[in-house]
Amino acid sequence: MENVATDESWRTSFSELAPGLLLFARQWVRSGADAEDIVQEAFVKFWRRNHNVNNRALLYATVRSIALDLIRRDSRRARREAEAYSDAEQAVEPKFEIADESQRLLGNAVDRLPREQSEVLVMKIWNDLTFAEIAETLGISQNTAASRYRYALAALKKDLLPQ
């Protein structure tokens, strides 16, 4: 499928993909505005190059690459993000539409996951990528992707167990 910038097909694709892409981008930045900047740049770049929008591994790799570039470009931002990650309890803008207390706890537990686990979890759960696509996005083996996913679920389960 060829992307044509002049038609409205991008709007349909973007409506479907945007929430998952934003969530994916939020792993590197703590504000929704920064995540939107990343997603905007990635999607425009992706569409401009006429990539097949079904090539989700490439799309997510583009988002990831732009997010990492953004952090590298701005060392102050990198320090700020690192500090934010070291204190996971620090209040940040929500990533999910929270309906009740259990969902809030679950969302917070996802925030506490190590980055390498959370990025696999986000791609698998909220973006429906296969392990093959995740592996391609991250440049790792499918087995590693599957392992990280299992570690993430195990960590969440342990985190959510009643003390």
Partner: protein, 169 residues
């Protein structure tokens, strides 16, 4: 089913925040800019070497100018050192007609050494196809100083892209 199926279901119930309408506008604007950029360039990517050739052309012209300046300086110096000798021989008519120490264009040549038909393309949003023919050539310009017989030659590679309209009839 695995041990985590219940947890996976709970996670899937969590809904990520939607994109803001501003983000849609920004993406639309980005794509529109991209479209106009593409239209302006006719979706023909100019090869790097084409741009490099312009650079070479500039360098060649600069070098030619420097050579001309040095040539003039040398001639001035040598003219000063030559003692004035009275002569009964009339000076050649050509030398009188031309100012001394001045280079005049003596010729320009353009040799096409490679030409490639790159097929049909549709420039911009045009429905009319055109045939793109790319030619590599070497252009040589020559100047000559009639007074001294000195000559200067500048040669540089260049590339030309021709878009030839094609009729479907």
């Amino acid at each position: 089913m695995n041990d985590f199926s219940e947890l996976e279901n709970e996670l899937k119930k969590l809904r990520p925040l939607s994109a803001s309408p501003e983000l849609f506008s920004r993406v639309e604007q980005g794509l529109t800019n991209v479209t106009s950029d593409d239209t302006l360039s006719g979706k023909v990517i100019r090869p790097e070497r084409f741009r490099i050739n312009w650079l070479s052309f500039g360098i060649a012209l600069g070098a030619a100018a420097v050579l001309l300046i040095f040539a003039r300086l040398d001639l001035n110096r040598s003219m000063k050192n030559v003692p004035v000798i009275a002569s009964v021989t009339p000076a050649p008519r050509v030398a009188n007609a031309m100012p001394a120490n001045q280079f005049v264009p003596a010729g320009v040549s353009q040799i096409i050494y490679h030409s490639r038909d790159e097929g049909l393309i549709f420039p911009g949003e045009s429905a009319q196809p055109v045939r793109r023919v790319r030619s590599q050539m070497r252009e040589t310009s020559q100047w000559r100083n009639p007074a001294t017989g000195a000559s200067l030659r500048v040669s540089y590679p260049s590339e030309q892209v021709e878009l030839i309209p094609v009729s479907g009839q």
